[in-house]
């Protein structure tokens, strides 16, 4: 019997190449796609905010109790925009996508481009409808930002009402009213305060590197007044009398000193202005207390208060909404059902909605939860023990809807530039809005 022939070098290389190719193809195949219906499951959660991570971790036992799954979370944190970029990159690669994703509201429009949302995200609409009373209980104002063609693709983390934060001690010192007045009256008082004390009572952002921040400071008052960026059909409706009125109001305020422009709501400029008492009040979303005031001026604990926005003489509401994060489920994955049930049983339960406010400061998105006495009784230490929730409950009916468009980033880019031109006096408010509409049409029309 002859001994087995030794393989030559070429054969060995060919075999190695084949094995490598097989291994690579196996790796590209990703995990199992058989849907899990019960048992142990590890959910990959991507978010930009550690607060959500803590919230969901704490909600895991409740989800275990209410479902057939035993949950474990594997959390990845990245910048808000990076979350979407990474998600899309992994989706293109066909593997490595998470199960649950937190879409910061300003990044979600990227999912509305083409059929990305429909292709990638689980449609929650039917599941919402399947829970008795849930559809009517959810605030339309907060499902709108994460919906397309009537389909809901993510559930919002908050009802981020816009309120007026003010220094109670300085308002008393400067003899400023704490009760409701119109913005126009407020501006007259603010001009006097600026002249006498060098302080301002309203803020706009002029940070050139963050179009979203520049736009947001205008957006809050615009939506309060009754204007909007897009309608429900994703049509631009910015060029409106309300928008011109609000922009003129801000431009006039900048000239009188009632309004101050800062380069960053969260950076050194705002911190310095707050510490020096140059900003004694500002309209901002409720989450700004935790992300802007507390980190920047912790020593001013007990001095700040919250109240409804002044109303414009021409009409509108006394609140608006700004910000938010919607959590969506990636479809067609083994953990899709588990992720959906986890989301519903941590995010949408009554207890989960209550925990939102008590643990994170975010407001419920279900109307029925606003009657919970535990929320009404809570007092805020930073705001001198003020009970904030009753104020928010009173404002709830006035929260306007916020519709988004896949072309929102285009609008923000062109609008930010023209807002700055208007603030600097290079354009009139009307010119700025006309130019924005024209620029938007030019860029979005392609």
């Amino acid at each position: 019997m002859y001994p087995p022939a030794r393989p030559n070098r070429r054969a060995l290389l060919r075999g190695a190449l084949g094995m490598g190719t097989a291994a690579a193809l196996s790796a590209c195949g990703g995990g199992s796609t058989t849907a899990l219906t019960s048992g142990d499951v590890t959910l990959a959660l991507w978010t930009h905010d550690p607060g959500y991570e803590a919230f969901f971790e704490k909600g895991t036992p409740e989800a275990d109790r209410l479902t057939d799954f035993r949950y474990h979370l594997k959390v990845t944190r990245a910048g808000a925009s990076d979350v979407v970029t990474k998600l899309l990159a992994q989706a293109v690669a066909g593997r490595g996508t998470p199960d649950l994703v937190g879409f910061e509201i300003g990044s979600f429009p990227r999912m509305l481009r083409g059929d990305i949302a429909e292709r990638l995200l689980y449609d929650l609409t039917d599941d919402i409808a399947a829970v008795p009373g849930l559809k009517d209980d959810l605030l339309p104002a907060r499902t709108a930002p994460f919906s397309e063609d009537g389909r809901v693709y993510a559930l919002d983390s908050d009802t981020p009402m816009v309120v007026y934060f003010y220094r109670d001690d300085l308002f008393e010192r400067y003899d400023l009213p704490k009760e409701a007045v119109t913005w126009e009256e407020f501006a007259e008082l603010g001009a006097r305060v600026h002249q006498d004390h060098g302080a301002s009572m309203c803020v706009v952002s002029t940070v050139g590197s963050d179009a979203g921040q520049v736009v947001q400071s205008f957006q809050m008052l615009l939506y309060q007044r009754g204007g909007a960026f897009f309608d429900a059909d994703q049509n631009l409706v910015l060029d409106s009398p309300e928008a011109e009125e609000v922009l003129r109001f801000l431009c006039d305020g900048l000239r009188s000193g009632f309004v101050i422009d800062v380069s960053d709501y969260y950076g050194a400029a705002m911190q310095t202005a707050l510490k020096q008492g140059r900003v004694i009040g500002l309209p901002m979303a409720i989450w700004y207390k935790n992300y802007g005031l507390v980190p920047n001026v912790p020593e001013q604990k007990g001095k700040w208060r919250v109240k409804a926005l002044p109303r414009f003489a021409g009409g509108g509401a006394v609140t608006a909404a700004a910000g938010g994060t919607g959590f969506g489920v990636i479809k067609d994955k083994a953990n899709t059902r588990a992720a959906k049930e986890f989301l519903f049983n941590t995010w949408l339960t009554h207890e989960g909605q209550v925990r939102r406010f008590t643990e994170t400061g975010y407001l419920p998105t279900r109307r029925s939860v606003y009657d919970d006495p535990r929320l009404s009784a809570a007092r805020d230490d930073f705001c001198g023990g003020q009970r904030l929730f009753p104020l928010y409950r009173d404002l709830l009916p006035q929260v306007p809807p916020f519709h988004q468009s896949p072309d929102q980033s285009i609008l923000y880019d062109v609008l930010a530039g023209n807002l700055l031109r208007a603030y600097h006096g290079d354009l009139s408010p009307r010119q700025a809005l006309k130019q924005t509409a024209a620029d938007f049409g030019d860029q979005a029309g392609r």
Partner: protein
């Protein structure tokens, strides 16, 4: 009657010939085998991306699903896109700053650092090179504070010296470009100085001695000896700076985000924005192709003008 060559068997001679042929064939493949890694990487990371970009530029694609063929539509839209025109103009400004300001300044600094008798030479050289290795994010943070309109260092100095401040360095469209240019100066000069310094150190000392013997002053020595000797280095630096500035991204992205009002938007930022903020990958690819063509064409022109690659 014929006889075989003495000592040579025909079959042996044939086998020897075959062996020689095989050896020559093997030898002829060897050079290609040794250079193949470079070409393999070149194809994978240069040619394939270029071809894919070209194809993608003829499509409309949101990043998922199948790209839709649209022909030259993306290029037609670019031709009328005000933002793209703005980005081209901004990039041209940055290129001019790099080539006409940063390069000459780097040369002067190198000349100073190469001066005989300079004390603590290494300290000066290190000081100029440090900006090159500092994280761009840290640079943006520092200069963001420096240029802040209300509380920045720049305005504080202006108030202290001239009693006036409040310059909106980053919020004014014109000044924002100036601010970016200043950051470019700070970050890039040291890097280019290194090349000039190396070139200066290779200039034969005899040339300076001859110039000195001929009575040439410092200025004449610089123009007639130093500059000609540095021509190859200068050419390389100019082309490198040109290409780098044409693809500038970090400074405007981190410091001004392309704003205000797109006054610092570069072409590279335009491409990034179209692809990763607006999910318009086909459009972004078209802009990238245009950028490649423009940069390649102009850099080749600069190469010819400066005689790069031409045998002396």
């Amino acid at each position: 009657m014929t006889t075989a060559l003495a000592g040579q068997n025909p079959s042996t001679r044939d086998r020897a010939g075959e062996t020689d042929t095989a050896r020559r064939r093997k030898q002829s493949w060897a050079p290609y085998l040794f250079i193949s890694p470079f070409y393999l990487l070149y194809v994978l990371f240069m040619l394939v991306p270029v071809v894919v970009s070209l194809w993608l530029s003829l499509t409309e694609w949101v990043g998922l699903g199948t790209p839709h063929w649209v022909g030259l539509r993306n290029y037609r839209l670019l031709a009328t896109d005000i933002s793209f025109h703005r980005a081209l103009g901004n990039t041209a400004v940055f290129v001019l700053v790099a080539v006409c300001v940063v390069v000459p300044l780097a040369l002067l600094i190198a000349q100073a650092l190469n001066t005989r008798g300079l004390r603590v030479r290494d300290l000066w050289r290190t000081a100029y090179f440090v900006p090159v290795v500092v994280s761009p994010i840290l640079v943006a943070l520092i200069f963001g504070l420096v240029f802040d309109r209300q509380f920045g260092l720049a305005n504080s100095v202006l108030r202290a010296l001239f009693g006036t401040g409040g310059v909106d360095w980053l919020g004014d469209p014109s000044l924002a470009k100036v601010s970016i240019a200043l950051v470019m100066l700070w970050r890039w000069t040291g890097y280019l100085t290194v090349f000039f310094l190396a070139g200066l150190q290779n200039v034969p000392r005899e040339l300076y001695e001859s110039a000195s013997l001929d009575g040439a002053g410092r200025l004449r020595t610089f123009t007639n000896v130093t500059l000609p000797a540095l021509k190859p280095v200068t050419a390389f630096v100019v082309v490198t700076s040109f290409i780098g500035a044409a693809q500038i991204f970090e400074e405007p992205y981190l410091l001004t985000g392309g704003g205000p009002a797109e006054s610092t938007l570069s072409v590279t930022m335009f491409i990034y924005r179209a692809a990763f903020q607006r999910q318009q990958f086909g459009y972004a690819a078209a802009a990238a192709v245009v950028l490649f063509v423009v940069v390649f064409g102009l850099s080749q022109l600069v190469n010819r003008l400066l005689g790069i690659g031409r045998a002396s």
